[in-house]
Symmetry: C2
Subunit: 127 residues, 2 copies
DNA sequence: CGGTATCCATCCCGATACTG
DNA sequence: CAGTATCGGGATGGATACCG
């Protein structure tokens, strides 16, 4: 499951479908903006395989294919959504942390990141 | 944030530290079992940069380094934990879905996965 | 102990072209 | 429209060796 989520587009698909409305391939593709059809297909197949979404084909010409989350998928979608929500809400704090970290690390020479090897005995470490 | 989480070990680190207890480098490494020190360092640095964890160095010889989640980190850790919890609880359902999918796909020849191109007009598709 | 440096396999993803 | 086929680059992660 963690491996699945690790995919670059997986979470975005989950969030896009999380409102319960089924979406067609092209619509999904536009909404994700940047994904190629190949990769989108891969992502959707992987989600389908885990039982998180259903692929429904209307046998028309040209074909019309709809994707919607299963119950399982909506559950995961909700959890993923909560992460993206949290991220949005904390962008500012994260940005600050990043800048502080970068300043901390770019200022000092490479070697001084670790301990300053002051000759102390190990006994000083906490339990 | 999603990119960060996408890292192979990031979520595991978050979960490992989620109980609030600080952990040392080697302890983390054992607990994750399989990660190399290089990759673990990369993961920890990335998390530190986003402000999700603190690295504390006791300047002893040999060095002792502790990692603990920040407030931000614990929040994300909780969310990630909820995903892993969900995964555990639904392993069975996912396993079934996988087997059904694999059977569905291995049985038919490659071409028949899509629509069966019955010559129907597009008008038959739903709105 | 807690890293870093280096090299390398792999794998994910993207671009492009083509199809029923 | 909704894919598949093929190719290739770049990032990610692993193995190994070494260091303060």
């Amino acid at each position: 499951m963690l491996e699945l989520i690790a995919g670059k587009w997986t979470m975005l698909v989950l969030v896009a479908l999380e409102d319960g409305r089924p979406m067609r391939f092209a619509e999904l593709r536009r909404r994700l903006d940047g994904v190629t059809s190949k990769v989108l297909t891969q992502t959707l197949r992987a989600l389908e395989r885990e039982g998180l979404l259903i692929r429904h084909v209307y046998p028309t010409v040209p074909p019309c294919v709809e994707y919607r989350l299963t119950k399982l998928g909506e559950e995961v979608g909700g959890l993923v959504q909560s992460i993206t929500d949290w991220s949005q809400a904390n962008i500012a704090a994260i940005q600050v942390a990043r800048e502080e970290f970068d300043e901390r690390t770019t200022r000092r020479p490479a070697g001084s990141y670790g301990s300053e090897h002051r000759p102390t005995r190990s006994g000083d470490a906490p339990d």
